[in-house]
């Protein structure tokens, strides 16, 4: 069966510090991968998605970047965090031939 992992689960970082959040998927090949941000427990904002290694599409111009160095690894990064980067970050995957997405447990980021 397929499993998606995210780490860390929680993170407190000062303004101006770098960020690296990692997401890995097990039990599938060539998944579509997604990064979302959820603010204040409400709607999801799509940040990045990837259909293959090295292929990244950005949805919202901002302080963040994403990379996909391996087929089942998706990384969200920032060089300098802003207060507005605080939120709940969710990684998701979808099989290329399927329809629904499956979400990881999320990372709670607080920028102080």
């Amino acid at each position: 069966s397929q499993t998606i992992h995210q780490w860390p689960a929680t993170l407190v970082q000062p303004v101006g510090s770098p960020l690296s959040l990692e997401c890995t998927v097990e039990g599938t090949s060539n998944p579509n991968l997604y990064w979302y941000r959820q603010a204040a427990g409400r709607g999801l904002q799509l940040l990045f998605y990837s259909v293959g290694i090295g292929q990244i599409s950005s949805e919202v111009p901002q302080n963040l970047s994403a990379s996909r160095p391996q087929d089942r690894q998706f990384i969200l990064s920032s060089k300098k965090l802003l207060l507005s980067d605080s939120g709940f970050y969710l990684c998701a995957w979808r099989a290329a031939a399927s329809y629904e997405q499956y979400f990881g447990p999320g990372t709670r980021l607080t920028v102080t």
Partner: protein
């Protein structure tokens, strides 16, 4: 462009009563429609989807949803609510063609509270 609206921020029902969580959508082509549930501090869990065929789709935990093309709606329903159904529910839509293909748009979520 594709969009989805969940008109109710909060739905309250008594345990054992039927529940409905509303969703309307807008796409330029034909939609794929989804419902997800989120428990506090957790990721979203897939509940059910409409792709094609029968307008009434059944999903996990006794939930079902009815696709209504004329009203562009996809309301989530359950005949008898449980306290454990209390959570945040998201409707999502994906256009099967065009620029939105492959990417889903999520509603803002509806908090369902089931009281004993």
């Amino acid at each position: 462009a594709q969009s989805v609206a969940q008109p109710e921020d909060q739905v309250n029902v008594a345990e054992g009563n039927p529940l409905t969580v509303k969703c309307t959508y807008s796409v330029s082509g034909n939609p794929y429609l989804f419902w997800y549930v989120q428990y506090p501090n957790r990721g979203l869990q897939f509940l059910l989807k409409y792709i094609t065929g029968d307008n009434l789709v059944k999903g996990s935990y006794g939930f079902e949803a009815e696709f209504n093309k004329s009203q562009t709606s996809f309301h989530l329903k359950k005949p008898s609510a449980l306290v454990s159904d209390s959570a945040l529910y998201f409707c999502a839509v994906r256009d099967i063609r065009g620029a939105g293909a492959g990417k889903s748009t999520f509603g803002d979520g509806t908090t369902l509270t089931v009281k004993p």
